[in-house]
Symmetry: C2
Subunit: 358 residues, 2 copies
């Protein structure tokens, strides 16, 4: 048992404010480890913009294999003001997602009590759902071509590749997750069946076939455009949403906003049979770097998701309670520089409440 509860974690603090928020996340994780009697063996990786500018390398040779030796990955943020957008995201973040086959991007959208949401008349009882975003195919496969590039006759094609295999495992994950979650017991497919008749025909057929195996779960379908309206107007309609990579990217950012913004939103890149990666979903926020003002709660919540994934559910619940207490009793705002506390003070508070229990 003791052995089993020793977790090897690859930590990639990354760029900008990544290291600052990861520091607080680790503080809280260690507090939980102390209280609940497990051990974290942390290996740090210096991947990111600085290393790239220094060495020209994004992920060094053998880097992906190194990651595979861990039980989970804890990521800060990737993105550097001096590196052309796209390079680090593709060569580090997306590469890890794809090569470790982290086929689900799991994004809880949960408004904690005391957290300000920009939408009217909705509270924590209304905003509590999870988006299961396919994370390894679709438009993110990167397929496409240019024809006659740079001429007036140029054509640029971008392809969305969807496989039965990839779509089915993602949908199945959503149904399993919904059952385990045991709340409204409803899975909503979000797509665009009326226009994208290849991709979404496959998704739709697969969805209703898999659904038959889950007679206890209600199913629903919504177009992606309408879904954005409902996130703002009727977020209480949702329980578990399943969607493709691109639509998932879009709706989860909107979801982050209604749950209080980038200061609090976390996600997991899940391979249920492999190594998963957890991250605050905000960027590297260069303008706040080194100022001790960024909100570390998103990174702390990513750590909480990681513990839940590793089976340390009790520890995860303790962190969540501590986060809720800090949101409700302490923080003035979720935004960088407006919290009323510094980054490290917020980390200290959550760590303290996690250790003591609330």
């Amino acid at each position: 048992m003791a052995d089993e509860r020793n977790y090897k974690i690859a930590v990639i603090p990354g760029d900008g404010t990544g290291p600052e928020v990861i520091r607080e996340g680790v503080k809280v994780l260690q507090a939980a480890a102390g209280r609940f009697g497990f051990n974290l063996d942390l290996n740090y990786f210096d991947w990111g913009g600085d290393r790239y500018l220094r060495t020209g390398e994004t992920i060094p040779e053998g880097g992906i294999d190194e990651l595979k030796k861990h039980d989970a990955i804890y990521l800060g943020a990737i993105g550097h003001p001096d590196v052309k957008p796209g390079i680090l995201e593709k060569d580090i973040l997306l590469r890890i997602r794809f090569e470790l086959d982290q086929y689900v991007n799991l994004r809880p959208v949960k408004l904690y009590p005391g957290v300000w949401t920009p939408i009217k008349d909705k509270g924590p009882e209304d905003i509590d759902f999870v988006v299961v975003r396919e994370n390894t195919e679709g438009l993110y496969a990167g397929g496409g071509c240019f024809l006659r590039k740079g001429t007036p006759q140029e054509v640029a094609i971008q392809e969305s590749v969807n496989t039965r295999y990839g779509v089915e495992r993602c949908i199945r994950f959503a149904f399993e997750y919904c059952r385990k979650r045991n709340k409204k017991k409803k899975v909503t497919l979000v797509g665009k069946t009326n226009v994208l008749t290849y991709a979404w025909n496959l998704w739709e057929r697969t969805f209703y076939e898999v659904a038959k195996e889950y007679p206890d779960i209600e199913v629903d379908y919504a177009h992606v455009d309408a879904t954005c309206m409902w996130f703002v107007k009727n977020p209480e309609w949702f329980d578990v949403i399943v969607t493709d990579n691109m639509f998932g990217d879009i709706i989860t950012d909107l979801g982050a906003m209604i749950q209080g913004g980038m200061g609090i939103a976390a996600g997991g890149n899940i391979n249920p049979q492999g190594v998963s990666m957890f991250e605050p979903i905000g960027g590297s926020a260069p303008k706040y770097t080194g100022k001790n003002v960024i909100n570390p709660l998103a990174a702390i919540c990513a750590g909480m998701m990681m513990l839940e994934h590793l089976g340390e559910e009790e520890a995860a619940r303790a962190i969540e309670k501590a986060v809720i207490k800090v949101c409700r009793d302490h923080l003035k705002s979720m935004s960088a520089g407006k919290m009323g506390y510094s980054t490290s003070e917020v980390g200290d508070l959550v760590a303290k409440y996690t250790e003591e229990g609330v």
Copy 2:
């Protein structure tokens, strides 16, 4: 001059509540015509679900050529509960957009005084921008294929086709529109350059090239996911947005929500050299059909956009003033059944104020 101000309008009331809202729209258009001295020659087309169920036809033979004989098209709504989703949308709505080469979908997002928005702390001074959505290519081109359909090895490909020709004319439209609009003088490209590196590389290159011809206009770029957050949190950042067909579809529905919902949101499908089509952007709302409770303001605003497009700017402004007065002084809500007035009463009020002036 008299001759020039005689407009041939193709009216397609369509399905569900389409005919009800178009009736009120026509009432207001005629009021404007009476006051401002132009003439509307209306030809009605019975295209839609009922006709399809009766005859099997969506657009009858020669129908598109008929449309071409008009100065503009005024559309209610397409979509019937007894017809499989996708058929009518593709064979009527999208077909008209494509065959008449209506290459811009123009969507003003403007919160009128007195209209309830679901987002906090924002008023009419904050929500006033326009989305220029490419309307004839991208993922809507419909390209793609299935491989091994129905087997566990199935692959479904969906293609986004983007041409320099199509992208450039759309971007140019956005800059021209921004200059004419003469407000913040800023055009924001909304895309996903960091992941969709074929399509958005073409868009980005074209955008910055065209921008050089408009030194008076500020340019900006935002990822589509972040844009959704900002619509809710900082809508005041935007002036004119230009984006592709799919992203435009998504963000304009979110835009509709923050401007008060489907009861008020209108759009134009524009071919500056051809025949354009104007529509309320909500659906056919089957459950409200025939009850005289649906909000006709979206259809009325579509009519207003049509007059503006036809060059009847004074009449368009008069309708807008009437709409604003009705929103501010009369309507309790923008939602069907909750307005405090019936569909026809709202139409009567706007027509009266348009005729009298406010």
